[in-house]
Amino acid sequence: MDFSVTEEQAMLADAVARFIDNDYDFETRQKIAQGDAGSGKEMWQTLAGLGWTALPFNEEDGGLGGGPVELMLLMEQFGRGLVIEPYLPTVVLAGGILRRAADDSQKARWLTALIGGELQAALAFAEPQARFDLADIATTAASRNGLYVLNGRKAFVLNGGDAELLIVPARTSGGRRNRDGITLFALAADTAGIARKAYRTVDAHRAAEIVLTDVRVQPDAVLGQVGEGFGTLEATVDEATFAVSAEATGIIRSMHDKTVEYSRNRVQFGVPIGSFQALQHRMVDTLMVCEQCRSLLLWATMVSASGGTGVQRAISALKYQVGSSGRRVAQEAVQIHGGMGVTWELDIAHFFKRFTAIETLFGNSDFHLDRFVALAGD
């Protein structure tokens, strides 16, 4: 049993923390959020230059061989900095599929550019009717004279508007909600028949609704085995769930810290509001939530890093806990900030919105508590 991070890991976290402090303060972040592009391409180049787009990939693929510990450290800091760069969709989601299922030629075509920061990507993990069920896929891929023809609708495709690579799970066999018969396709976003309706999200990220109409692709677009894509899809979304949970842990810690700080300086009735016992005890409650979430994040990281069984269960436990108890931290932070907490001007409001989006992302707290129950107890 080992709680330690290596020197390299500690330095990675240091580097990300410095990046947030020096190159990604709230004003910069807000400027990027206002800009038309999903993110400043220059900023994305910076992330690539720092090596972070290479983090989770094998060294033979040009990656840094990072694992759950590195991802956790990076995302926790990204949460603190409210980073809106498309790291999750490009590196964790699309990159995660490529890492797990792409063959050498597919890696050569997509992964090298992705690691280099020249390619942005997206994974279409949701459909309008599916809610949070990854296997609920109505999009079909029919094999017709040597080609696959895709038809269907994809919902809330993160970074779907800016991505040059779209990874689309479609059904080559089996009925809806059936885990068998799901095949993963790597599509160039400009392929004929792909209609994308891009929009901003409430947390200043970007996503798109995508309609596929008779989209024709060669068999070499298939990632992994035909009809056996679900395992890859689920493992990748699990990792992304872990990543946003780490981000959310960073967010609630920041909200808590900023609220305590605010309560020290904010004077009402002639005294700092931090001197009111009712608020003190509530801020102690939110501190305990932060510590409990941090502990569970540690556990889930250690379980993931150790591989073996129980990883899914640990991730669902983490997502549930961060979502359900973290909501209280987020709401208390706004409440204790009073009127200022609901203004666009303060960062608290934007932390609150990002946290709320993460609550829903990849299944809300109820979904993950049920999943935790359904998975066999350790």
Partner: protein
């Protein structure tokens, strides 16, 4: 004669009174306490009748009258906007309020002498429910519900004649000038000064969180007319200001969800006739507190919450594009039920308060309970609506909520993508009008006596 025997005779039980336990003492303090506890129920009563949840014939007749009115007079275009989450313009609101005025229903809580309805508590309850049931807009509160009671309670005859009719007719749009930057819940710390110069006050300062101030013609303010006072609550006056007066400027505040709803109102050497002072100089704090209690008594928003729950249930009873109905999800159904039950309880808590008001009690500190529970329930509904919308809570597409926007191009079904914006925006419900923390301080001091 002992109470026990009285009970029995009154219920008509006369047999074997010999078995009655002798000489019970007379009615003691406790039964007095009991009578107080139940006093609120005694108020709406016809003697001899007893508790009944059904409407009487008169009440049913009144309900039908309201329903018919709404069916005939509630404008179709406004209804369409309301039902498709399209924001109403100032003109929409004014038009609707004038229709209510024509019907004589603008001054629901006003005394009859000033054009009020003179309705009973139950009638007000029925009216609020019917309005909400068709999702019709409520009266904008600042004129009819907030400044008017202060004017007809503390104003002079000239002021009543000058201001009340235009409020009732929605000819003049009012906004509220209470909060100030940095003051927050500490209202009494207000710094806006009104210095007497002959027959005018010269007003300087800034008010904030002024809801729909950019629509307003007039603003009612708490201003400091004297700083030479023992308590900060003294030296505050209640002043009415024409916003077209030189020196008044309005700046928007963008709130968390990205909309302009509230404003900062700046006063720079604004000259206000002393005739616009309501009541006595220095008594503004007292008047303002009365106003806040009236505000709170109306703030529970039970009828509106009932509509939202009904809407939520109906929307998600239909299965989503062939997906299962959310109502079949036991967690969701249980959450929905838990809120429904809490809301039913609040509905009766509000009725008990209205009953007390009906017999002349001012809405006391108990109204703080309505404010706290009301906002808690509204925010629980906000959160549940976000849960229900799933991923469609997350797109930020306010632009698609216009009548001319093609429905089939909309993202999400109905107003799903508005759910998170409402959730964000309505965090204010536990902050404004005296934060819930302030309400709890009030209840603790004035109800619990701590």
């Amino acid at each position: 004669m002992t109470g026990a025997v009285r009970v029995q005779r009154n219920i008509g039980y006369t047999a074997a009174t010999s078995r009655v336990k002798p000489n019970l003492p007379p009615v003691g303090s406790n039964s007095v306490k009991f009578r107080e506890e139940y006093a609120d129920r005694q108020t709406i009563l016809d003697q001899g009748s007893t508790m009944n949840v059904n409407f009487s014939d008169d009440e049913l007749t009144f309900r039908d009258e309201v329903r018919n009115f709404l069916q005939e007079k509630y404008p179709a275009d406004i209804r369409e906007k309301q039902d498709s989450a399209v924001a109403l313009g100032k003109d929409d609101m004014v038009r609707w309020q004038k229709i209510l005025y024509e019907q004589g229903w603008a001054g629901v809580n006003w005394p009859v002498e000033y054009g009020g309805t003179g309705w009973s508590a139950i009638q007000k309850y029925i009216f609020a429910n019917e309005i909400a049931a068709v999702n019709a807009p409520e009266m904008v509160p600042f004129g009819v519900k907030m400044v008017a009671p202060v004017i007809y309670t503390f104003g002079n005859e000239e002021q009543k004649a000058r201001f009340l009719p235009d409020i009732l007719m929605s000819n003049v749009w009012w906004c509220q000038g209470y909060s100030e930057p940095g003051a927050g819940s500490d209202l009494a710390s207000l710094k806006t000064r009104a210095d007497r110069r002959g027959d005018r006050y010269i007003v300087n300062g800034t008010k904030t969180w002024t809801t729909l101030g950019h629509f307003a013609d007039w603003i009612f303010c708490l201003v400091r007319t004297s700083s030479d006072v023992a308590r900060r609550q003294e030296g505050i006056s209640f002043l009415l200001v024409d916003m077209s007066t030189p020196g008044v400027s309005v700046q928007p505040i963008i709130t968390i969800e990205g909309e302009r709803e509230v404003n900062e109102v700046h006063f720079h050497d604004v000259a206000v006739p002393v005739d616009n002072l309501v009541g006595e100089e220095g008594k503004g704090w007292t008047y303002g507190k009365v106003l806040l209690q009236h505000e709170r008594a109306n703030i529970a928003g039970v009828a509106r919450s009932k509509y939202r729950m009904k809407h939520l249930r109906e929307k998600y009873a239909q299965s989503i594009d062939g997906g299962r109905s959310l109502l079949e999800d036991r967690n969701f159904a249980r959450k929905l039920a838990a809120i429904e039950i809490e809301l039913k309880a609040l509905e009766y808590t509000e009725l008990r308060t209205l009953a007390a008001v009906a017999v002349g009690k001012a809405p006391g500190p108990e109204s703080s309970i309505l404010k706290v529970k009301g906002s808690e329930i509204q925010q629980a509904i906000d959160a549940l609506t976000v849960d229900a919308a799933g991923y469609y809570a997350l797109p930020y597409v306010p632009q698609q909520y216009h009548l001319d926007f093609p429905a089939d191009e909309r993202i999400g079904s109905g107003a799903e993508t508005q759910s998170s914006l409402r959730y964000f925006n309505n965090r204010k419900a536990s902050i404004y009008g005296g934060s819930n923390e302030i309400q709890k301080n009030i209840i603790s001091k004035h109800v619990l006596g701590l």
